[in-house]
């Protein structure tokens, strides 16, 4: 029962609101970088409300079941992942063995949902977008999991969030060591691709394939995809903070540090997004399987040595 309360209050409601605020910060920082004024504070909320009220157009060529199921699936994956993170962060339970792996799998589901939705919509551009999403996912998952592996080694082979946070409380944040620092850089690059922000916005390249897999979506289903993006924009930095920066501390002055940690990570992501052009899919694949994977392996080796 308490899990359902966590799912609704923290996973669904709080994460959505925080994610929408995060997407406002993202758009505002983007606007300031380009010397613009930027949208007002409630703009992401208004966008979602508007999309709820629009008509849903279903293309003739779409396979209807999957077309409607895929956005729900990606939203559900992101929400459940954030719920597990909140449960561990707020210390209600000690978690269960291997919840780290469950979260890694759940964080893949939004990408899979986008792929399935794109393939189900029957549009050629959406299919190109979906195939690019598959290739991008194959590229970034390897270094992402390797960088998490180095954290697992550093925290004494424990695969429970609770234990990882506890060990960081005793020994200082993981990011302050050599192996943790390299792994942090690798995983920031990987979440850039997971969020499909520039330079890795290849699946949704607006100027080439017009929003890619989302091209045929309209109304509330498009809103669900946008909301999934916002939820991920909160959940992925939260995941990184738990693994590398010692988690959020929600008591007393710690709340200020937690907000600063999160905003700093978000602004780094936004600045990378605003200062880089889009790369081609083959360049992205070479980048992830070349230098980024090598860096992740180096950090894993350093973690084994104990640096």
């Amino acid at each position: 029962m308490i899990y359902i309360i966590y799912l609704v209050i923290f996973g669904l409601f709080l994460t959505s609101v925080l994610g929408l605020v995060a997407s406002w910060i993202d758009r505002k920082v983007t606007a300031r970088v380009q010397y613009r004024v930027g949208p007002p504070f409630f703009q992401p909320f208004i966008d979602i409300t508007k999309l709820m009220g629009k008509e849903v157009v279903v293309p003739n060529t779409a396979s209807k079941g999957m077309f409607f199921f895929a956005p729900l699936m990606s939203f559900a994956g992101a929400v459940v992942a954030s719920t597990i993170l909140w449960i561990n962060q707020l210390g209600y339970t000690e978690g269960f063995l291997g919840d780290l792996f469950v979260v890694i799998y759940l964080l893949m589901i939004p990408s899979i949902g986008i792929m399935l939705g794109g393939l189900a919509s029957g549009n050629p551009l959406a299919r190109i977008g979906a195939s690019r999403e598959i290739k991008l996912m194959l590229s970034y998952e390897l270094p992402f999991i390797l960088s998490i592996a180095s954290i697992i080694v550093r925290s004494g082979n424990s695969i429970i969030f609770h234990r990882i946070i506890e060990i960081q409380g005793q020994n200082g944040a993981n990011a302050l060591s050599f192996s943790g620092g390299i792994a942090l850089i690798v995983s920031i690059i990987c979440i850039q691709a997971k969020l499909s922000f520039a330079p890795f916005d290849i699946p949704e390249a607006e100027t080439e394939i017009m929003a890619g897999p989302l091209i045929e979506y309209s109304g509330i289903y498009l809103g669900l995809y946008k909301l999934t993006k916002c939820v991920l924009l909160f959940t992925l930095p939260f995941f990184i903070i738990i693994l590398f920066l010692g988690g959020l501390n929600l008591s007393g002055i710690g709340i200020v540090y937690s907000i600063i940690k999160y905003i700093a990570l978000l602004v780094i992501i936004t600045l990378i997004r605003n200062t880089n052009p889009r790369v081609r899919i083959d360049q992205a694949m070479k980048f992830f399987w070349g230098p980024v994977t090598v860096a992740a392996i180096v950090s894993l080796v350093l973690a084994f040595i104990g640096l």
Partner: protein, 141 residues
Amino acid sequence: MSLKLRALLKSPWVFHISTGSCNNCDIEILDCLTPRFDIERFGMLLAPSIKHADVLLITGSCNRKSMIRVKKLYEQAPKPVVVVAIGECSCSRGLFIHSYNCPVPLDKVIPVDIYIPGCPPKPEAIIAGVVKLIQKLKGKA
């Protein structure tokens, strides 16, 4: 005014259709998105696909080939949708009014909510036109 319409007016995503224009009006529309005018202040974004659009910005002289496509695009756009005719050509076919290739004006094919004349209209004129459109929709609802 209903919540649906109020949200629509606060975040109109625009989609840009050219029905054979000389590109002048299109460049003036793109000017509205630049830092100098910055229509993202009002929540407007350039929609990549017609399925995401709330406002259709139509420019050009409405020739035979493109009007079939415009009609299809209007049918595909999720309602409620607002149509804006930008430039002299799409308002009244401009200097192509006697051309064999431009038999009907835009508003005989799809319903048009507002006309912004000019050859091309300035970005200020486009923004002023959209402000008038919002006032009109507010008064109507």
